[in-house]
Amino acid sequence: MDKLGVGIGWRAEIDLTVESLPVDFVEVVAENLHVEHLPESVLLLRERGVPVLPHAVSLSLGGADPVDPARVRHLGALAEALDAPFVSDHVCFVRAGGLDSGHLMPLPRTRDALDVLVANVKAAQRDLPVPLALENVAALLEWPAGELTEGQFLADLVERTDCHLLIDVANLYANARNLGTDVDRFLDEIPLERLAYVHVAGGVEHHGVYHDTHAHAVLPEVLDVLAKLRDRVDPPGVLLERDDDYPADAELAAELAAIRAVLAR
């Protein structure tokens, strides 16, 4: 994968901040943008040569229904408009039985669920102009009767679809904290040579459960997971996600610096 460096999630609320921060690349939430009316700030970043990666949240690739071609087309059109090297979404479902969960829901880690996910990912890949990277999600609950560890599930997904991985170390920390996922085993099981980039985000612990809020500071424990990953591979990119309760610019700059420090260790 091409080297991306250290980036931040572009959000309309912090567009000027993002423009002024020392970042090498940004990510945009695909569903928030219209191809015909891209925000001026995003176009400015493109003019500066900053890579802008479309990140989708609504393909529901792990859902029971076949992928919605219109959503895939939008993601692909955005990739072309932004000249993005690849696009991403999550290993999750967000729709079932006509209901919309409103958030990324974990999948049952069964071979049957993996078969459906693989079929959906292949269908999306056929219609996308660039490679697809898929991200591990944070879960608050565990499906019963899992047949594979999360690492095995992702490794099989990569093997069968040739997709790339977007590893969110905050989500991995959340699953370790909440579900007992073994971080070292996870990192040993996934094909790190397929790593596109890494997400880092903040969260908060509430009554013994860690919530991946993207609205709080990044915990040192999350940077420790990033360090464990860094021990195994030099990631092509690491991106900070902040979606709410935006802090002062200096605070975001400090979090980016902390990420750079872990990478330079």
Binding site: A64, F93, A96, G97, L99, D100, A113
Partner: protein
């Protein structure tokens, strides 16, 4: 090729979303406490979005906003084809039918204040 797997997955995922969003029964094998925590997290997120798109409702209802929204959302979970603004508008209409909110007065041009 994946039809049987899809059918079973649809059943299981629908059952879980009903439990999380619409007070449905907790599916077998799930930890009840975790389902409750996830349900609360989803409700908090959705309430936050409705508050963002309709700050007027939160302002008018004050402390009643949260319990009223939560009751509405559990009885009327968001459908996949409903846009968030439509969902917030439907909540506002529900508030009127419940007598919790005055019906919006449509101000005509001849009623405009000078």
């Amino acid at each position: 090729m994946t039809a049987p797997q899809r059918a079973e997955l649809a059943r299981a995922q629908t059952e879980l979303l009903r439990a999380l969003l619409a007070d449905g029964a907790v599916p077998e094998g799930f930890d009840r406490d975790r389902v409750a925590i996830e349900a609360r997290a989803l409700l908090n997120k959705r309430r936050g979005v409705v508050r963002m798109v309709r700050p007027d409702l939160a302002d008018t209802l004050g402390d009643r906003f949260r319990p009223l929204f939560d009751a509405y959302s559990r009885a009327n979970p968001k459908h996949e084809d409903t846009r968030m603004r439509q969902y917030a508008a439907a909540f506002a209409e529900w508030l009127v039918t419940q007598g919790e909110l005055e019906p919006p007065r449509k101000r005509r041009w001849w009623q405009r204040k000078p």
